[in-house]
Symmetry: none
Subunit: 216 residues, 2 copies
Amino acid sequence: MMKILLIEDNINIGESLKESLEKNGYELIVKTSLSLARKYLEFTKPNLIILDISLPDGNGFDFFKNVIKKINIPTIILTAFDSEEDIVNGLNMGADDYLTKPFSIKELIARINKILKINKNIIKVKDITYDFDKMMVYKNSLPLSLTPLELQLLNLLFLNLNHVVSRSMILDTIWNLTGNDVDDHTVTVYFNRLKKKLDSDIIKTLKGIGYRIDEE
Amino acid sequence: MMKILLIEDNINIGESLKESLEKNGYELIVKTSLSLARKYLEFTKPNLIILDISLPDGNGFDFFKNVIKKINIPTIILTAFDSEEDIVNGLNMGADDYLTKPFSIKELIARINKILKINKNIIKVKDITYDFDKMMVYKNSLPLSLTPLELQLLNLLFLNLNHVVSRSMILDTIWNLTGNDVDDHTVTVYFNRLKKKLDSDIIKTLKGIGYRIDEE
DNA sequence: TTTTTTTGTAACTTAATTGTAACTTTAGAA
DNA sequence: TTCTAAAGTTACAATTAAGTTACAAAAAAA
């Protein structure tokens, strides 16, 4: 069962949400302060967090930045802070959604459903499909057999979709080598093996800079 | 460059959005009716659609279900229909977000960014677009091919937007050379190659001082 | 063990990038 | 206006980065 953690000091909201969410198949845990929430998060990982901003022992924005971001749990900010600045700030911080009070429970549930369904663990670029969970690569739906290192390389590129990955970054993360005093020719050879196996031009070389895969 | 299609018959909204979105590195195409939008979508695939609901030739919800869902393009519904039922309906249909009018442009952009997973690392000056993530330069949305050094130079200029970059600064950061005892003529040659490739007057020469790119 | 696969290195090829030199133009000072 | 230093332009040879191929060492599988 999907667990949702509500961090909110207004007990009424907790009460009414609990019932509605449970009807929709969710389990709701309510914590009325940041310290209680922090304690809870030490030994449990909910699937989603609904976070109020003004709480008795601190500010929700800070909590989001310092605690939630690090454990990487989808979060909806739910607050009376309805200024444009707060909303934009919350969204740009990385919150998955931002709802202002008073709010519609049905809308909240619709937005929760949307976030929890967006578990986009499969990426398709041209004829290549990459499955993050399974660490599998398909070309036109047929599985490709890559060596462990090739897979790691490809994974790194897909994790950095639309971003250039430099050779030094690659050497650092895949080979745990630093600096440029290492034979980075190995990288070249690997990329060419990978490119040959994929037989697709999704990997772009940026001479002197690195490699990149672009979303379509 | 990311293309956003706005389907909206109120021309004022289109006008004001166009400017703000372009500042954020997006290209906005406006269609004032569903039939025009359908025609456009026949041969172009935008990265995102912003959809109004009440349109001269039909209902946006239907259009979303029958047309957009099939071609699978992220969509934000932007409408005056602010009833709980409409919002929930829109979200449950599969819209990626639902904003009600009147709306904040900044919030809309934050929500667009979130959907397109972009952290605004794109700068546009005149017809030149610079993408920090991809390390790519576009002229009128078409990619330009620059050499590594040319790219580094341009990067330096964009990092110092509105500020002069002196030749000694350039020699120092790009060539790792200090002082002025080096042949700084190389810099001149590079800037001219760069200027020629950009074929745009965004790079300003300040004789005896350096070079500069200005924001518009 | 043997066999197969994976990995790292080396040597070579190719194409693009880079630095320099020689010459021309321009902007601003006198 | 002329003069001069700075910047623009062009061309070319040297250099370099990436692509390619081949192969032996190391690791994993049979």
